[in-house]
Symmetry: C2
DNA sequence: TAGTGGTCTAGACCACTAT
DNA sequence: TAGTGGTCTAGACCACTAT
C-alpha cells in the first residue's frame, strides 16, 4: 500500500484544500468527526487518522472533547533578546494574556533546590501562570524562587513581568539564563488548563536565571503547545 | 471515565514496570503487538494506544514496520558552545556515525537563495547527511552552500566537520549562527532513512551560519527524532 | 438534553520485514 | 515463507461539552 492509496492521507489532502477554499480562520472549528466520516465515506477511525496527521503537521489542534480547530501562527520566542512575554506578543502583533493560576509557598523538591542552590526541603515560592494568545491558552509555566530572598513576593502583581518586579522591588537583576528545550509529555497539572488530553507531548522549556554574580535567582519550567512556539537563537 | 479506568493507561503502567523489571536495555525490541494484546487481554487497537502514549513520553520509539524499541538517552546539543557533532558525541560518551547520503549541485530554491543572499536560481551544493547514535539514525540534515564560493567542495571529505573544512581549505570562518527550532513534520525525503512513518513529527532545526563580516556562508535544515535531542542554550 | 470526542471490541487485508 | 506493523470496517458505550 503506497502513500497515494492511504485513505487517511487522501482525506487529509481534501480537508486541507477545503480549509483553504472556505478560508477557515485561525481558531475556527472543524465539522464533527461523525459529519466528516459521512462526508468522506469512511469510518470515524479513518477520519481521526487524517485529523491526527494534520495535528502532527501543526495545521489543526484539538481542544479536549471540544473538537478540532485551525492553528494560529506560532509565537517566535528569542531567549537571547531578553524580551518578556508581553513585549514579544506586542512586537508580533498578537493579543496576549497572562493569568496567575496559583501562587503559594511550598517545600522545594530536590531538583528545584539543587538548581536554586538551596538546602533540600527549604521553603520556596511556586507561581503558576497560564499564558494565552488570542484567547487560546498556549503556555503553562511553573516559577520557583527562594522565599527568604524575596519576602512578600506573593503580595506583588504576579501577572506582570517578573524580571521587572525582581529588579525594581528587590534590586535583583537577571544577567544570564541557562535554557534546556526538549519535546516532552505535558505536565499532568497543565493538561486541563491547556485543554489537551493527559499524556500529550508538547515543548518543555526549563530555565535557570542567574544574577550578575552567577547566583541562581529563579527557575522556570514551561510547557508550550507544540504548534504554538518557534524558538530563535542567535549565537556569537 | 477517569484516568484510572482507561485500559490503555493501565497497560502503559504495566509495560513501564515490566521494562524496568526485566531491565530492557536501550534499543531492545518489545514483544509484538499481537503478543502484548494477548498478554493484556485486549485488542491490538488498545495496545497501540498504550504504545503511542509511551512514544509521546519518549520511553519507546518505533522503527517503521519493524516494531517498538526502548529509547536511548537524548544527545545534548549546545549551539552556543560551537562543538561539532563528533565532539558532542565524544563528550557525552556516545557512539556517533555520519553518513553522506548525497552531495550534488542543484538549483537553489527561493528560501535557500534568500538566506544565502544569492540570486534566485543560482547553483548551490546540496549535501545530505545522516547521523546515528549507537547505530540508530537520529538526524537527517540538508546543507546548502554557494557553489561559486567553494569550488571543488564535493571532492572534499564531507562526512567530517564542515566548519573545519571551510576554515582550513577555503579560509572561511563561521562567526555567528541564527538558529530556529520548531516541532514539525519530518521531511518526506528523510522518513525512510530515519525509519519513521511519513508525516510523523520531529524537531526541526534551521541554521544560517555567518562569517565574521556577517555574510551568510551555509544553511542547514536538520530533522531530529523528537526523543533524541535536548537543546541547551546559555544566554549572556 | 442532544450531540460530541475518547475509548474499546472483534475482526480483516496488505505491504513489508525478518529469516 | 511466517509473522509483523499499518490501515480500515462497523459497530458500541460513556463522560463530557454545548445549549
Amino acid at each position: 500500500m503506497n502513500d497515494q492509496n492511504k485513505q487517511y492521507l487522501q482525506i487529509r489532502n481534501q480537508l486541507v484544500a477545503a480549509l483553504a477554499a472556505e478560508r477557515f480562520k485561525a481558531q475556527s472549528k472543524l465539522p464533527s468527526e461523525r459529519e466528516l466520516s459521512e462526508r468522506y465515506g469512511c469510518t470515524r477511525v479513518t477520519v481521526r487518522e487524517a485529523l491526527m496527521q494534520m495535528e502532527a503537521e501543526g495545521l489543526i489542534y484539538r481542544r479536549n472533547r471540544r473538537g478540532w480547530f485551525v492553528t494560529p501562527p506560532r509565537l517566535v520566542f528569542s531567549p537571547t533578546r531578553k524580551l518578556n512575554f508581553m513585549q514579544m506578543v506586542d512586537e508580533q502583533n498578537r493579543q496576549g494574556e497572562t493569568r496567575v493560576a496559583s501562587a503559594e509557598v511550598v517545600i522545594g523538591d530536590a531538583d528545584t533546590c539543587c538548581e536554586l542552590m538551596l538546602v533540600p526541603g527549604e521553603k520556596i515560592y511556586e507561581i503558576i501562570r497560564i499564558r494565552s494568545l488570542e484567547g487560546r491558552p498556549v503556555l503553562y509555566e511553573f516559577i520557583y524562587l527562594s522565599q527568604s530572598r524575596f519576602p512578600d513576593l506573593l503580595d506583588q502583581p504576579l501577572a506582570q513581568s517578573l524580571t521587572v518586579l525582581l529588579q525594581d522591588h528587590y534590586g535583583e537583576r537577571i544577567a544570564r539564563e541557562q535554557i534546556r528545550i526538549t519535546s516532552a509529555t505535558i505536565d499532568p497539572r497543565a493538561t486541563e488548563a491547556l485543554e489537551v488530553l493527559p499524556g500529550r507531548s508538547g515543548v518543555c522549556i526549563r530555565r535557570c536565571r542567574l544574577n550578575p554574580k552567577g547566583e541562581p535567582v529563579e527557575r522556570d519550567v514551561e510547557y508550550w503547545l507544540s504548534d504554538a512556539i518557534e524558538v530563535q537563537v542567535d549565537t556569537h
